[in-house]
């Protein structure tokens, strides 16, 4: 489990309008590119000072490639990051609050305690 890396993906994509669009349009290609080119960048360091140990599990790659917010929640990805990014990608296709409510509806089987989000 690499909750930190899932969160890093959601965080770096959500703050960049170009990446938001790429993730909406080509999630599989985008996730592969991100893991190859961005995952190991330390965010406040020069590009050369990369980390050497970060990688997704196959389940995590699948959840990201399939825009599966329910699976991401189950893995302990930070729910605020997932929600914010997914609203950015999909709210536009729905009426007011319709997407947010459908997002919740898809999770209605989930009971407390929720998955641990500590990293």
């Amino acid at each position: 489990m690499s909750k930190y890396l899932l969160n890093k993906f959601l965080y770096t994509v959500d703050r960049d309008p170009e990446l938001v669009e790429r993730y909406r349009q080509d999630p599989a290609g985008m996730v592969d590119w991100w893991e190859r080119e961005v995952a190991s960048t330390v965010l406040n360091c020069t590009v050369a000072e990369k980390s050497t140990w970060l990688a997704f599990t196959e389940d995590e790659r699948r959840a990201l490639r399939e825009h599966d917010h329910v699976a991401l929640f189950g893995m302990g990805a930070h729910p605020f990051l997932t929600l914010t990014l997914f609203i950015a990608m999909f709210e536009r296709d729905h009426g007011p609050l319709e997407y947010q409510r459908a997002y919740a509806k898809a999770m209605e089987h989930i009971r407390l305690p929720y998955p641990d989000i500590a990293t």
Partner: protein
């Protein structure tokens, strides 16, 4: 010594700006009542005639990130740019710039460190809606210098609720001891029960109305002991997965003082959340 002109605690609802500025078919049915309540709340700050605002809030994974996460951070800079691309995108919030009060920021850092709070600091801080929402609601002219104080209510492990109360008490004492003739308002924003990104989000009201009712009573009555007796890091999961933001209200209860009833209390039951607004006047109620 400086005067604490007001202590103010509030929810920070990022949709207020859009709701209050929209017109015609875009204006939601609850907007007029919400605006009326906010304008009444704003008067409680205006009447206090502040010169400086200490603004307690929490970065929502904008500048502060998991590779280097402070628990409590004071912004010390001549200016703070404010609001982020994703807040403009989702909430329609405008870009803003606030002046900083570096002398008070430096004082809080020095005195806070000496009092046992290992405060982080930032000399280049872009602040987010946890600070700009109360500027928009309480001081929309954005003409006063600020000292942002960020807390971690977002990324576990977090400090316990007791620590938030202790920091609130310390901020109050430090502001009162600041060698200045300025009038300082201490303003902090948080949440009552709140769910974001989980199955209970965006319901017809906050996810736990009973928690909200109890929380408003704790705050309005200054019932710090009652609140600390029931609220823990674990207990805050039950009312909603983002309810740890309530710890910023607990910080403000510490700043207001144990057992001190609020001079002004108002609430608004909205879809998704209960909004709540509190003001204390440490120098006595203003006419």
């Amino acid at each position: 010594m400086a005067t604490v002109a007001a202590v103010i605690a509030s929810t920070h609802h990022p949709f207020y700006y859009r709701a209050s500025t929209s017109a015609g078919a875009d204006r939601p049915p609850f907007a007029d009542e919400w605006v009326a309540k906010i304008e009444a709340f704003r008067q409680t700050l205006t009447r206090a005639e502040p010169d400086v605002l200490v603004m307690v809030g929490s970065d929502h994974f904008h500048q502060l990130w998991l590779d280097n996460m402070p628990q409590f951070l004071v912004g010390k800079a001549p200016f703070f740019d404010a609001n982020w691309y994703n807040e403009e995108r989702e909430f329609g919030l405008p870009k803003m710039r606030l002046a900083g009060e570096e002398e008070l920021a430096g004082y809080l850092l020095r005195e806070g460190l000496d009092a046992g709070f290992d405060l982080a600091f930032s000399n280049e801080l872009r602040i987010d809606h946890s600070v700009t929402c109360p500027i928009i609601t309480l001081r929309p002219q954005a003409d006063l210098p600020v000292v942002p104080v960020y807390t971690n209510i977002f990324a576990p492990p977090m400090p316990r609720p007791e620590r938030f109360v202790q920091l609130g008490r310390a901020i109050r004492q430090m502001v009162e001891a600041w060698p200045s003739d300025k009038r300082v308002a201490i303003i902090g924003t948080g949440h009552l029960s709140l769910e974001l990104g989980g199955p209970r989000q965006f319901g017809p009201h906050g996810p736990d109305p009973e928690f909200d009712r109890q929380a408003v009573a704790w705050i309005a009555n200054g019932d710090v002991d009652g609140c600390l007796g029931e609220v823990t890091l674990d207990s805050l999961h039950a009312p909603g997965n983002a309810t740890h933001g309530f710890m910023d209200f607990m910080l403000m209860m510490g700043a207001a003082g144990d057992g001190i009833k609020a001079d002004y209390t108002d609430t608004l039951d909205l879809f998704h959340t209960m909004e709540a607004y509190f003001t204390w006047y440490p120098q006595g109620a203003l006419s």
